[in-house]
């Protein structure tokens, strides 16, 4: 039996709050630094939240290369959907460590992300995160983050031009 890393919910929460702050502050390069070299970022479709992106059309299914490309795009003034950048405020709660196997902690959390942009209605992205966090010593890295929206359809949420 391998020795499992000791990680507390408080440590995980600190990490998730820090991640949320980086995203809210558009510090996207620093956010990329939280990801493992093989990380993925997924947003499943509203009507198949349990689907697999290999056989289901997701909203977002980024491997590490596309996450990096997404950040590069979002930093460009030509990412018109986010220029001017929207203001976001993320609320993370109900953080639970579901399992720790080897060095990977499966963590779920609820989120509400408010998005504000001039001339646009406030958008409230509500849902839950499913994280695979690689815990190595005191260091936490994101191996997979899945943002599962509760909305039945995007509808007034429009497009998902921010990182959820």
């Amino acid at each position: 039996m391998s020795e499992q890393p000791q990680i507390s919910r408080a440590e995980i929460e600190d990490f998730l709050y820090m991640e949320a702050a980086l995203l809210d502050e558009w510090r996207l390069d620093e956010w990329l630094g939280l990801l493992t070299d093989d990380a993925s970022y997924l947003v499943p479709p509203n009507d198949a939240p349990d689907g697999d992106h290999h056989d289901t059309l997701f909203i977002v299914a980024d491997d590490i290369h596309r996450v990096k490309a997404r950040v590069k795009r979002l930093k460009s003034r030509n990412a018109h959907a986010e220029n001017p950048k929207s203001r976001t405020r993320r609320m993370i709660s109900n953080v639970r460590i579901r399992s720790v196997v080897d060095d990977v902690a499966s963590v779920t959390a609820n989120f509400v992300i408010y998005r504000f942009r001039r001339h646009e209605q406030i958008r409230e992205y509500v849902g839950r995160y499913e994280y695979k966090l690689r815990v190595c010593g005191g260091d936490i890295k994101i191996a997979e983050r899945k943002a599962i929206l509760d909305a039945e359809q995007l509808a007034g949420l429009g497009s998902v031009s921010i990182i959820l």
């Binding site: 479709p45 056989d55 977002v60 596309r66 490309a69 030509n78 995007l154 429009g158 031009s161």
Partner: protein
């Protein structure tokens, strides 16, 4: 009576203008509902979505809630989702399989062929009460072309085959990508609103003039992945393409491919390991269709608009997209991915991955289209002062030489729209 013309269409002077009031006036939308959406063929779903008897999908088409379903008798029907008793929705699920649709309000029940089979307390009704006349109402017309089902609320509408005119040939080339001749809608629906008039998405869906400026970040992404996106002198896109009217307001852009296509044109983003399978897919196309048609299927791409609101973009992947006005300044878009039945797991995954590079609300391009249409809608609040929009690109050229970055296809949409709006 409104004396302002909706469009100015003068081929001799190479002038084509659309009056901006058509995007902002609620009374225009009211007329569109009766003159366009109540008369044109509208996409409701694909045969692959109702494979088994009892399978159903509920949708809103042309402002009406409908049930797209296959009955126990094997027939595909579209019912108006409204109890013949008082009008309640008889089905509130998005999709599923049902032998009966039971209205929960007073518990009238209909089988999946539409027949009214149970009415509690039937003895209280008089002698004129006839269950045979109270079946779920079907839409006046339903037809399909190669598995794409369209409905029409006008019982006297021309046949779908006739209506589709030159668009059929482009549907054929898309369907030809499947070795079995069958396509299927892939699980996962993208449903999102755009705060803009619905006609702006009809334009945008095949407006190649906007692609280079609006989608700079997409081109940069392709370039970083090893695709040559350099734009040759004389063009506004990396490769040559044409815009074409197909009759009845349908139109297409028909382009040489500059990026990869899951069927069957490799690009570096797919990875070296994909080369062999794509070569196999291509070889199958050549053996089945011949070199020339295989070239069209694999090495050219097309964005097809079937008037008024069905778009099939066969580009970095194949998307089926339809959209309806919610108000004169808001639309709801529904989009799916479609692919060959029997496609390998790796080819299917590649198709979906390739879809997400460009298309969809989380893609690298669609969000910028949404932004473009929304800020256009905001801008044309000035319509009383700045009255006209210009769509005259390429009008001085012979029709067969007008490019994808010209606007003959957009004009085809507008001419048909204008024609229908002039009817009583």
């Amino acid at each position: 009576m409104d004396t302002v013309r909706y469009i100015i269409d003068d081929s001799e002077q190479a002038v084509f203008k659309v009056h901006r009031s058509v995007f902002v006036k609620p009374e225009i939308l009211e007329q569109e509902r009766s003159k366009i959406f109540d008369r044109c063929w509208l996409y409701v779903g694909h045969v692959s979505e109702v494979r088994n008897p009892g399978d159903f999908r509920t949708r809103v088409v042309g402002g009406r809630p409908v049930i797209f379903t296959k009955g126990a008798d094997g027939e595909i029907r579209v019912f108006l989702n409204s109890c013949t008793h008082r009008g309640t929705l008889v089905c509130r699920e998005r999709e599923g399989n049902a032998k009966t649709f039971r209205c929960f309000y007073h518990a009238w029940s209909f089988n999946n062929c539409g027949e009214l089979i149970a009415v509690p307390g039937e003895d209280a009704y008089g002698p004129n009460f006839d269950k045979g006349h109270l079946a779920l109402r079907e839409v006046p017309r339903l037809a399909h072309y190669k598995g794409f089902y369209l409905l029409n609320f006008d019982a006297h509408a021309e046949s779908l085959t006739h209506y589709l005119a030159g668009a059929k040939e482009y549907l054929d080339i898309i369907v030809d990508q499947s070795p079995t001749g069958e396509l299927e809608i892939i699980q996962g629906t993208q449903e999102y609103d755009i705060a803009a008039n619905w006609k702006l998405l009809a334009e945008n869906s095949f407006d190649d003039y906007h692609v280079a400026p609006t989608h700079i970040t997409y081109f940069e992404y392709l370039k970083d992945s090893g695709v040559n996106v350099a734009i040759p002198k004389g063009l506004l896109m990396p490769r040559h393409g044409l815009g074409k009217a197909l009759g009845n307001g349908h139109a297409v852009i028909d382009n040489q491919t500059y990026r990869g296509r899951p069927i069957a044109y490799w690009m570096p983003m797919y990875g070296e390991e994909a080369r062999e399978e794509i070569a196999q897919i291509r070889a199958e196309l050549v053996s089945r269709l011949g070199e020339e048609r295989a070239y069209r299927a694999a090495d050219t791409n097309r964005n097809l608009l079937i008037f008024p609101n069905l778009v099939i973009n066969d580009g970095s992947s194949v998307t089926v997209r339809t959209f309806f006005p919610l108000t004169e300044r808001r639309m709801r878009v529904t989009a799916w991915a479609i692919g060959p039945v029997g496609e390998s797991a790796t080819a299917r995954a590649r198709r979906l991955d390739s879809f997400l590079t460009f298309y969809g609300p989380g893609g690298f391009a669609t969000p910028d289209d949404v932004e473009a249409l929304e800020v256009l809608q905001q801008g044309i609040a000035t319509w009383k002062e700045v009255e006209w929009s210009d769509l005259s690109r390429g009008m001085t050229k012979p029709i067969e030489e007008q490019l994808n970055t010209d606007e003959p296809h957009l004009r085809a949409f507008w001419r048909r729209w204008n024609e229908l709006m002039q009817t009583d």
